[in-house]
C-alpha cells in the first residue's frame, strides 16, 4: 500500500512518468508533482467541482480520482485547454460578462461548461444550470456564468451556420 508505483500518462499532451504513492489523488498529483496549480482543491470530497479535469475526454473530480487510476490515460487541465485555444471563446465570454470574481471555481466551471457545450449546441438556461449544478461558486450567484455559457453556445452555432 505504501510502496510507490510507477505511472505513465499524458498530461496536456506531454508524456509524464512518475513514482507515486497509491493514496495520492490526481488533484494533488497535478498540483504538487507537476505544479499545474490551475486545478484547484475546494472540498476534497467531490462536492465542489473546483478540481474538475478531463480524463480521456470525460470530466472527473480530480480529488476523487487516484493518480494511479490515471495510468495510461490522457489528462487535460485548465492550463492545457487554455494553451490549445479550445476554451478561448468561452473564456472571452466569461471575461465580458464578469462571470468570475475570485476565480477559484473558474477552471472547473469552464471545463464543466465546455463539457456541456460539446454535448449540446443549444442548451436552455435550465440545462446549463443543471449541468453546472455540481460546481460551487460562492461569488457570482451563477447568473453571469449561465449568461456566458449561453452566449458562447449562440456564437458557436452562428459560426457553424
Amino acid at each position: 500500500m505504501t510502496t510507490p508505483m510507477t505511472i505513465s500518462l499524458s498530461v496536456n499532451g506531454e508524456r509524464v512518468d512518475a513514482q507515486v504513492l497509491p493514496r495520492l489523488n490526481l488533484a494533488d498529483f497535478l498540483r504538487e508533482h507537476l505544479h499545474l496549480t490551475g486545478t484547484h482543491v475546494g472540498c476534497e470530497h467531490g462536492i465542489c467541482g473546483a478540481c474538475t479535469v478531463r480524463l480521456d475526454g470525460e470530466i472527473v473530480r480530480a480529488c476523487l480520482t487516484l493518480a494511479v487510476q490515471a495510468h495510461g490515460a490522457n489528462v487535460e487541465t485548465i492550463e492545457g485547454l487554455s494553451d490549445n485555444g479550445e476554451l478561448a471563446d468561452l473564456q472571452r465570454a466569461f471575461r465580458d460578462r464578469n462571470a468570475l470574481q475570485c476565480g477559484y471555481c473558474t477552471p472547473g466551471m469552464l471545463i464543466a461548461a465546455q463539457d456541456l457545450l460539446k454535448q449540446h449546441s443549444e442548451p436552455s438556461r435550465e440545462q446549463i444550470r443543471e449541468h453546472l449544478s455540481g460546481n460551487y461558486c460562492r461569488c457570482t450567484g451563477y447568473q453571469a456564468i449561465i449568461d456566458a455559457v449561453e452566449v458562447t453556445a449562440r456564437l458557436r452555432r452562428s459560426r457553424v451556420a
Binding site: 505544479h35 496549480t37 475546494g42 471575461r95 450567484g141
Partner: protein, 797 residues
C-alpha cells in the same frame, strides 16, 4: 447615470472625455484566473517550506490532561510537534475587545490551546512535516488525554445561574450587552391600534469560501523579518497584529496578499491557527504553510448570525408604525474574535432595526453570550440580515394585522426622499437615501400588480406563490468610528500612489485589496479617467505592505468609496504635475493643456502636443533639457477618509417571487429583484454582480445554510455534502436596478455596494414564503426555511 451633484459649479474630473466612470469594462487580468495561472496562497511553495497540520479538540469543552508526542515525533518527515505551552514562548495571547463597545469582555486566547480546549476544533497541538500528507499521518499519532468538561451550548440558558461559566475570571457568560431607548416607546405602543409581537430565529451559518483559509509564513532569521503570504482583506491589520504578538516591529513584518479564493469577511479576521503558523515559522526558522481542509473550515472559519430576536411593532389602522422594540440574543463561541470583536453584529442589529422608517420610537436590548461552539464574528453584511428580517417581518405582520398591502404600509412609513439629512432613532445619520424612488422602481421592474393577479389566479388551482418585499439600509464607507475609536489598529483611511513610468504608462499602488470584487478594475478606471490614459496603460498593485501606502483594505463596503476617492485625489495631483512639466516643455501654460488618450493635448481643440511617453523620456533621461528650476514630480500620493459622516449609508429594496410546495415543503425561487442606491456607479456590471453574489449568499441563509450543533457542542454537518450551499440549479435570475444619490462628501460620490444583496435577500424570501402560506393562516419566523420547518408549520409532520 449620475444625478445632480451638490457642487455643480466645480467641474468634476469624472465628466472628462473618454471617462471610464459609469462604464462597463472588463476587469484587467481575468485571463490569469481563467487560465489557471493565478497565485492563490494554496498554490505557493517556497524552498525548505514545511507544512503544518493541527491536532484539534474533538470535544466542545475539555481539560487537556496530557499530550504525548513521542510517537508522532518519530514519524517519517516530521520536523516538529509543538504544543500550546511551547508555542506560547514565541507568541503572546490576545483579548478581543474594543473600548467603544462598553462592557465588552473576553478571555485571553492562545494560538494553540493551553490546558483547556473551548470548542470542538480548537487546535491543541501542531505537527510540522515535509508534506501535508506526512503531517496528517503524524497528527493521528499525537496522543492527547482529555478530561471532558460540561459544554455550554444553548445560548438561551447561557446566562442561567446553574449554567457553568466558561471563563471563571469573567464572572459570567455575558460578553456584551447594549440597551437603547429612544422616543416614547411605551406611549407609542399604547397609542397603537394593533401591537404585534413575535420571535425570530436565525440559523448559525458560515462563509464557505471556495479556497479555504491558507497562509505561508516565512521567517528569515538572518534578516529578522517575517513575510506572511495570506489571503487577507486587511494586510496592514495582519502586519500590526503579527508584529505585536511576536514581539517584532511592524517594519519586520511584510504581508503579501495575492489572489484570494473568496473571502466575504471570513478572511478579515486573525485566527488562532494562522497566528500559530506565524509563530511556528519563527520558532523553526523556515517557511511554514497552513491550508485548512474543508472540515477545519467548517469548524474554525468564523460562523455568523445565530440570533434569537424577539420583536414588537405598534401600528395604527391607517398604517402608521408607532414603534419598534427588539430583544436580541446571540451566542458567539468561547472567545470574542480578534481584533474586530464578536459584539459588532449584535451592535449592528441594535443600530439598524427600523432604520428605513420614520418612527423615532425604538427600544432595543442585545445580549452577546459565550458558549462552547466555534467562534462567531463579522461575515458579509454584518447584522444587516438580522435587522432587516426582523424589521421587514414585523412590518409585514403589522400590515397583515390591519389588512393593508405590504407595499402600501411601506409607502406610508419609509423616510421621505426629501427628508434628508436626518437621523435614525439609534442615532445613525443619513446624508441622502432614496427609499421611495427605489420602491417605485422595484414595483415597476417586477410588475407588482400583474404578479398579485397571477398569484390570486394560481391560488385557485392550489398553487401557492408568494411575493416578499424588504427595504433595507446598508452601512458603507466606515470612518474611524467603526474600529479606530475603540483602540483597534485597523486603518479607516486608504492611500494611493500613482506614477508615470518611463514609457508613459501608469503604476498605481493602492492600500485596498482584491478578492474578486473588482478593486483593481475600479482603481484603473478612476486613474485612467482622471489622468486621461487608456486603462490598459494603468497597472494596479495591491495587497503588499512593502509596496502600497498604508490603509485599511477591502471590507465593510469601503473599497470603492474610500480607496476610489484616494485614487481620484492622487491622480488629480499627478495630472497637475504632468501638465506643469508639459507647459514648460511646450512653452505653454497648464490651463491651455489637457491629457487625453495618453498624450498632452490642447484643451481648446484636442490637438496632440506631446505623447506622455515622450514627456517621460525627457523627464527621466534628458532633464538637462528642461528649463532651469523645473523639478518634475511624476509621482503623487494621497490618502482619504470620510470625516463628515461616520458611515455613508446606502439603501435599497428587494423582492422575491417564489412557490411553496405544500406537500413537500420545498421552496422554488422563481425570480428576485433588487433596486439599490450606492451613489456614483463606477462600473455598472461590477456593481450588479456584487449585488447578485450578495443576494445568493442571503438566499443560502434563507433556505439552506445552517451549522447544526448537537447538545454536546458537536458540529454534525461539517462538510459540503451535509452543509448545503446554493448551487446553480436552485438559484433564480436576479434583476438589478439602481437609483443614484452620490455622497457629497467625496468628489467621486461613491458609496459601497458589496453587502446590499446579502442584507435584504433572506427577509424578502421569508416574507414571500409567509405570503404564499397566508391561506393556511401560519407565519414562520425562522430561517433557514427548510422543508421540515415548513411542513411542521403546516402541521403535516
Amino acid at each position: 447615470m449620475t444625478a445632480a451633484r451638490e457642487k455643480p459649479e466645480v467641474p468634476s474630473v469624472l465628466d472628462r472625455p473618454n471617462s471610464y466612470i459609469g462604464k462597463t469594462v472588463p476587469r484587467p487580468n481575468l485571463d490569469r484566473l481563467m487560465q489557471g495561472r493565478g497565485q492563490y496562497v494554496s498554490d505557493l511553495e517556497l524552498p525548505r517550506m514545511a507544512h503544518v497540520v493541527f491536532v484539534r479538540s474533538p470535544h466542545a469543552h475539555a481539560k487537556i490532561a496530557g499530550i504525548d508526542t513521542a510517537v508522532a515525533n518519530q514519524m517519517p518527515g516530521v520536523v516538529a510537534v509543538v504544543t500550546g505551552p511551547e508555542l506560547a514562548a514565541v507568541i503572546t495571547p490576545w483579548v478581543g475587545v474594543l473600548s467603544h463597545l462598553k462592557g465588552l469582555k473576553s478571555a485571553p486566547q492562545q494560538a494553540i490551546a493551553v490546558d483547556r480546549a473551548c470548542w470542538q476544533g480548537e487546535a491543541v497541538a501542531a505537527v510540522v512535516a515535509t508534506s501535508r500528507a506526512l503531517a496528517e499521518d503524524a497528527a493521528e499519532a499525537v496522543l492527547v488525554e482529555y478530561e471532558e468538561l460540561e459544554a455550554v451550548t444553548d445560548m438561551r440558558t447561557a446566562l442561567n445561574p446553574q449554567t457553568p461559566v466558561i471563563h471563571a475570571v469573567l464572572g459570567d457568560n455575558l460578553a456584551f450587552e447594549r440597551i437603547h431607548d429612544a422616543g416614547t416607546v411605551d406611549q407609542a405602543f399604547a397609542d397603537a391600534d394593533e401591537v404585534v409581537e413575535t420571535s425570530f430565529i436565525f440559523g448559525r451559518h458560515t462563509g464557505v469560501t471556495l479556497e479555504p483559509r491558507a497562509v505561508v509564513a516565512d521567517w528569515n532569521s538572518a534578516e529578522e523579518r517575517l513575510t506572511i503570504y495570506q489571503g487577507s482583506q486587511a494586510p496592514h491589520m495582519v502586519q500590526n497584529i503579527a508584529a505585536l504578538h511576536l514581539g517584532l516591529e511592524e517594519r519586520q513584518v511584510r504581508v503579501v496578499c495575492k489572489d484570494v479564493g473568496g473571502s466575504f469577511g471570513i478572511k478579515v479576521h486573525i485566527y488562532a491557527d494562522e497566528m500559530a503558523t506565524y509563530a511556528l515559522s519563527k520558532l523553526l526558522r523556515r517557511p511554514i504553510k497552513f491550508v485548512a481542509d474543508r472540515v477545519e473550515s467548517f469548524n474554525t472559519d468564523i460562523h455568523a448570525r445565530d440570533h434569537h430576536c424577539k420583536g414588537k411593532i405598534g401600528v395604527k389602522r391607517d398604517g402608521t408604525i408607532t414603534a419598534f422594540e427588539i430583544d436580541d440574543l446571540t451566542g458567539i463561541g468561547p472567545y470574542s474574535m480578534y481584533p474586530r470583536t464578536s459584539a459588532i453584529e449584535a451592535n449592528q442589529v441594535v443600530n439598524l432595526v427600523g432604520g428605513p422608517y420614520v418612527t423615532m420610537n425604538y427600544r432595543a436590548r442585545a445580549r452577546v453570550v459565550f458558549q462552547n461552539k466555534n467562534v462567531m464574528c463579522q461575515y458579509r453584511a454584518v447584522g444587516h440580515p438580522i435587522a432587516c428580517s426582523v424589521t421587514e417581518g414585523l412590518v409585514d405582520l403589522a400590515a397583515m394585522k390591519i389588512g393593508m398591502d405590504p407595499v402600501e404600509i411601506r409607502r406610508r412609513n419609509l423616510i421621505a426622499d426629501d427628508a434628508y439629512p436626518c437621523a435614525s432613532p439609534s442615532g445613525l445619520r443619513f446624508e441622502k437615501l432614496s427609499h421611495h424612488a427605489s420602491l417605485a422602481k422595484l414595483l415597476e421592474m417586477m410588475d407588482y400588480d400583474r404578479l398579485r393577479a397571477e398569484q390570486a389566479e394560481l391560488r385557485k388551482r392550489n398553487i401557492h406563490r408568494g411575493i416578499g418585499i424588504a427595504s433595507f439600509i446598508e452601512v458603507t464607507n466606515p470612518s474611524a468610528a467603526f474600529y479606530g475609536v475603540g483602540g483597534a489598529k485597523i486603518s479607516s483611511q486608504d492611500g494611493v500612489a500613482v506614477r508615470l513610468d518611463a514609457q508613459g504608462s501608469v503604476i498605481c499602488q493602492t492600500s485596498i485589496t482584491e478578492q474578486g470584487q473588482g478593486s483593481e478594475s475600479l482603481t484603473a478606471q478612476i486613474v485612467g479617467s482622471v489622468l486621461g490614459v487608456p486603462m490598459e496603460r494603468v497597472r494596479v498593485i495591491l495587497g503588499d505592505t512593502d509596496n502600497t501606502p498604508y490603509g485599511g483594505g477591502t471590507w465593510a463596503s469601503r473599497g470603492a468609496g474610500i480607496g476610489g476617492e484616494a485614487a481620484l485625489q492622487a491622480t488629480t495631483i499627478l495630472r497637475k504635475n504632468i501638465l506643469d512639466v508639459a507647459a514648460a516643455i511646450l512653452q505653454s501654460t497648464p490651463a491651455e493643456l489637457d491629457i487625453a488618450d495618453g498624450a498632452v493635448v490642447n484643451s481648446s481643440d484636442g490637438t496632440s502636443r506631446i505623447e506622455l511617453s515622450e514627456l517621460a523620456r525627457i523627464v527621466y533621461f534628458r532633464p538637462d533639457t528642461l528649463p532651469p528650476g523645473i523639478q518634475p514630480e511624476l509621482m503623487a500620493t494621497r490618502h482619504y477618509v470620510p470625516r463628515e459622516y461616520p458611515f455613508a449609508f446606502t439603501n435599497g429594496v428587494q423582492a422575491s417571487w417564489l412557490e411553496v410546495d405544500t406537500d413537500t415543503g420545498f421552496v422554488k425561487l422563481l425570480k428576485h429583484w433588487v433596486v439599490e442606491d450606492c451613489g456614483t456607479i463606477i462600473n455598472p456590471q461590477l456593481v450588479d454582480e456584487q449585488i447578485r453574489g450578495g443576494v445568493v449568499q442571503g438566499l443560502g441563509a434563507a433556505l439552506f445554510e445552517k451549522c447544526i450543533y448537537d447538545e454536546r457542542g458537536q458540529l454534525t454537518n461539517a462538510n459540503m455534502a451535509d452543509y448545503l450551499v446554493p448551487m446553480s440549479g436552485e438559484m433564480p435570475d436576479i434583476d438589478v436596478g439602481h437609483v443614484v444619490s452620490p455622497t457629497a462628501e467625496s468628489e467621486l460620490g461613491a458609496k459601497g455596494a458589496g453587502e446590499a444583496g446579502t442584507a435584504g435577500a433572506a427577509a424578502a424570501v421569508a416574507n414571500a414564503v409567509n405570503d404564499a402560506l397566508r391561506p393556511f393562516g401560519i407565519t414562520i419566523t425562522e430561517i433557514p426555511l427548510t422543508p421540515q420547518l415548513i411542513l411542521s408549520a403546516l402541521g403535516r409532520i
